[in-house]
């Protein structure tokens, strides 16, 4: 799971113009919330354990606390500000190193993040672990040989895929209905185990980034936009005038 700036948070560039200023509000990356929910539902159906993992500075522990409150059993936090700047390849390598002694059957990730938007980390992790993967998943059923998943394709098409375990799945938003944490869940979360992993512990597994953000900037507008201002009723009148006389749609 990943912590990302809130959807409507105004973002400012930092002094080096290579990243944003950190003084914004954060939330859990939306597809990751669906991935967690799906893990909790699979556990409720088949028993087992749900472990949540994230990387990032101290603030990102909030994502793990919320997940524990919703029902995850334990958490792993790769805690260091440096993790924010890793590319997808190194992030996946850090995760692979942090879970090398674990014995998971399934790893879920959100299909992409709202900040970088690589849509890669889950698939890279699968390859590093030598596991099969499937992306943009809308349904998961256990069967005799492993699992049957429903992949979303483009333009309204879908496909079922049978695959063995262990496997990595990237989860599409909307696969399920998200739950809220209960008061008792929030209370219990305080006593659930949270393992911290330092940068030093996984440093040997990661290397130099293979891609580099040269600069970050506010995109230049290519379209001329006319602002319509005034009171709501003035705006309504102006807009209807445009719809009628310029766009000729009414």
């Amino acid at each position: 799971m990943k912590q990302v700036p809130q959807k409507d948070a105004p973002l400012k560039l930092n002094e080096s113009a290579a990243w944003i200023r950190e003084d914004v509000s954060y939330e859990v990356n939306e597809p990751d919330a669906y991935a967690l929910e799906e893990a909790l539902r699979q556990k409720e159906k088949h028993t087992g354990e749900v472990v949540v993992i994230t990387s990032g500075p101290a603030r990102s522990q909030q994502v793990l606390r919320e997940a524990l409150a919703k029902g995850a059993d334990r958490a792993i936090h790769l805690e260091d500000n440096a993790f924010v700047g890793l590319d997808a390849f190194n992030t996946a390598k850090a995760f692979a190193a942090a879970i090398k002694d674990e014995k998971f059957d399934l790893i879920f990730t959100g299909l992409q993040s709202d900040d970088y938007g690589y849509a890669q980390t889950g698939v890279i992790l699968a390859e590093l672990l030598g596991w099969p993967h499937a992306t943009i998943i809308m349904q998961i059923e256990k069967n005799d040989t492993g699992i049957r998943v429903k992949r979303e394709l483009e333009a309204g098409f879908f496909q079922f895929v049978d695959m063995p375990l262990p496997a990595v799945l990237t989860i599409q938003s909307g696969i399920n209905k998200l739950r809220y944490a209960t008061l008792i869940g929030i209370k219990q979360a305080k006593n659930k185990p949270l393992r911290k992993v330092t940068l030093a512990e996984v440093q040997s597994a990661i290397g130099e980034n293979l891609q580099k953000i040269e600069r970050l900037y506010v995109p230049q507008k290519t379209k001329k936009t006319e602002h319509i201002e005034g009171s709501p009723s003035e705006i309504a009148k102006k807009l209807v005038d445009k719809l009628r006389n310029e766009l000729r749609v009414i």
Partner: protein, 331 residues
């Protein structure tokens, strides 16, 4: 020998995915800037017919990468086939459209080769001999120029609509097609895909709609959808939504606009409380006129809007409904 750019076009059920022409255009533009050579590849059980189609464009060569194991598509087989092709041909830069299929196999392919993918790019720049790729970050609020710091091959994928497919230049004559037979060992392919299908026939076809009123998260609650519906009715248009609204079940999935829903190009697209995530924009940016109402003046939807109204949609929509009704009644 000059460096080579290899465009991997996409085929589905033996038909070229049209978005591939955009990637060919991108490849031709990078070739023009760098002086590198442009080649293309088609991967599939019977790639030859599509390879011939691609060979009509201005490319130096087309590879038809074939194996019976490439049908149906699996990430294992595609990554294995392309690994063999790239090891043999050694291109500097590999370009692909950022489709769901490419997203499924290219991170695996690059990782298997110890390389990286700059994904979902919207353009490139060639500055002082250095190639950088522009991509959107933070849901389109910011843009980044990204460079490769690893050895070749470099992988980049382009967002749908980043280049014009109809601008792909034709060649003077047909480019040579080379069939590359790849060996995919038993056991490489672990997933067993079933038939591709469409969910119960889509009840609503928004692609033909002339006026669309579309709602996003800013609508806040399911019951508020009603005012958007009233506006759509007053305008004689159709109601649509961004993905989160359909995910929440507030409107059926067949009213969803965007990469996982329908792609529309109406005369008027009225976006109410839609922030304008990339996944939504790719489904509606072809609209002739876009009007956006959003309380966040920095919402990315305003980047592509013709008319911007920064304000609370709950203040603006009710008088707008009345004005539209009045205008219509007045003939």
């Amino acid at each position: 020998m000059p460096d080579t750019i290899l465009v991997i076009v996409e085929q589905r059920e033996n038909k070229l995915n049209r978005v591939s022409w955009e990637t060919i255009t991108a490849g031709q533009a990078i070739t023009a800037a760098t002086g590198w050579t442009l080649e293309a590849a088609v991967v599939g059980a019977s790639a030859s017919s599509i390879a011939a189609e691609v060979a009509a464009k201005k490319v130096a060569k087309v590879y038809a990468v074939e194996s019976p194991k490439l049908e149906p598509y699996t990430p294992d087989a595609f990554a294995e086939a392309l690994k063999q092709l790239l090891a043999a041909k050694q291109p500097k830069l590999v370009l692909m459209p950022h489709t769901y299929q490419v997203r499924d196999f290219v991170p695996k392919l690059a990782t298997a080769m110890g390389r990286t993918v700059i994904s979902d790019c919207i353009g490139f720049k060639h500055e002082n001999g250095k190639l950088v790729f522009t991509r959107q970050m933070f849901q389109g609020k910011l843009a980044a120029d990204v460079s490769f710091t690893s050895d070749a091959p470099w992988f980049a994928t382009f967002q749908n609509g980043a280049f014009r497919g109809d601008k792909a230049e034709a060649g003077a004559g047909a480019a040579p097609v080379e069939t590359v037979n790849v060996e995919i060992a038993d056991g490489v392919v672990r997933n067993k895909p079933q038939e591709v299908f469409k969910e119960a026939k889509q009840a609503v076809d928004l692609t033909q709609a002339e006026i669309i009123v579309s709602v996003g998260r800013g609508i806040k609650e399911q019951k508020n959808i009603e005012i958007a519906k009233q506006l759509a009715d007053a305008l004689g248009g159709d109601l649509a939504a961004s993905r989160p609204i359909c995910d929440s079940g507030w409107l059926p999935m067949d009213r969803q606009i965007g990469s996982s829903g329908q792609t529309v190009a109406p005369k008027l697209y009225l976006a109410l409380g839609i922030s304008g995530a990339i996944q939504h924009i790719v489904g509606m940016k072809g609209s002739r006129t876009i009007i956006a109402v959003n309380k966040d003046s920095e919402a990315p939807i305003f980047e592509i809007a013709d008319y911007a109204i920064v304000g609370n949609l709950f203040d603006i929509v009710p008088p707008l409904i009345e004005e539209v009704k009045k205008a219509k009644a007045g003939g």
